[in-house]
């Protein structure tokens, strides 16, 4: 549904742009393609890597590692697994919900979800291409630390 809004917005503005200035519109599309083509190789590689990882790490496997009783070890495992890849929320939440049903703990799942979406070890090279080494590592390290803090508080709220 939201995707349609995004499409509507993009094509609406594109039409408006074309109406205003054809040359500029052609240039915008050229830039769009260039930016896409620039990141495509890494994207494709990451997609396959995530596919392999998700196939190996079944919900049963993960929840046996990050169960409600797993404590700090479970939190560390959840952070480690979550940090490896950057997974879109549309994949992450059904996975997280399945893990909760299989007996994973709330804190561990919150760490897992937050790190999945904010911390990406696999995508570090892509991020460094834009932000350099230092800013990239700082951002990911901070996101990791705060994911754990937020999860610990969240564990107290959600029972």
């Amino acid at each position: 549904m939201f995707t349609y809004v995004l499409y509507g917005l993009a094509f609406g503005l594109l039409g408006f742009s074309f109406f205003k200035d054809r040359g500029k519109t052609r240039m915008a599309l050229k830039k769009a393609w260039k930016s896409f083509e620039n990141i495509l190789p890494q994207m494709l590689g990451i997609i396959v890597l995530i596919g392999i990882l998700l196939a190996i790490l079944s919900p049963e496997t993960i929840s046996s590692l990050i169960g409600a009783q797993s404590g700090w070890i479970g939190i560390v495992v959840a952070a480690a697994v979550g940090s490896i890849t950057l997974i879109p929320g549309f994949v992450a939440f059904p996975l997280a919900a399945a893990l909760l049903q299989h007996g994973a703990g709330v804190v561990q799942i919150a760490v897992f979800v937050s790190t999945l979406m904010m911390v990406g070890v696999v995508t570090l090279p892509v991020e460094m291409k834009y932000f350099g080494k230092r800013a990239t590592l700082t951002r990911n390290a901070l996101a990791l630390v705060f994911s754990v803090i937020v999860a610990l508080i969240l564990g107290g709220i959600v029972k």
Binding site: T3, G51, F93
Partner: protein, 177 residues
């Protein structure tokens, strides 16, 4: 051709590993292929509008305007705008990096770009609805409220931790995007 091979090296290695997995364990290989394919379709569904908007942003919004709105002295407006821009996005975080690249090129403040990245990863509106359905409203709202200050703090700390010359270098390399 050789250049193309080099650029897609990582992807090709991943395909080889996938093939290896399939030879070793057919069911696992099929599952991994299915997951990759689903991932790809999900991504391709949201990628065209993002990159079209990125192209339009690059061509139509002059650097001066972008600097005024999200640059060094943009203050609250810059933070709020970066937040909104990220929250109205779709797709995984690595699709945000090219957009962030254009923001760098246009002179947005690094802390604001980090807020944009944070919003993209955590407070995307369609994702929040999805999260509430899958995990319950308490989980979603709790995580959202806790993460709002976190996103601002990360943005602030990343910028503050950067030495001047490193910062200058990031902006310089963004010229070529």
């Amino acid at each position: 051709m050789k250049n193309l091979l080099k650029r897609y090296r990582f992807f090709l290695v991943m395909l080889l590993i996938l093939a290896g997995v399939a030879v070793f364990d057919t069911a696992l290989g099929l599952k991994a292929t299915q997951m990759s394919w689903d991932n790809l379709l999900d991504l391709m569904a949201v990628v065209p509008p993002i990159f079209i908007l990125l192209g339009l942003l690059d061509v139509w919004v002059p650097r001066e305007v972008m600097i005024r709105l999200t640059g060094e002295n943009s203050g609250f407006i810059g933070v709020a705008l970066s937040f909104l821009l990220g929250s109205f996005a779709a797709g995984p975080l690595y699709a945000a990096f090219p957009v962030a690249g254009i923001m760098l090129k246009k002179g947005s403040k690094l802390s604001n770009i980090m807020v944009f990245i944070g919003a993209w990863s955590t407070t995307k509106i369609p994702l929040l609805l999805f999260e509430a359905t899958a995990m319950g409203w308490t989980f979603m709202l709790g995580r959202l409220i806790l993460n709002l200050p976190v996103i601002l703090i990360i943005g602030f700390l990343v910028e503050k931790s950067m030495p001047k010359q490193d910062l200058a270098q990031i902006y310089q390399s963004a010229e070529s995007f």
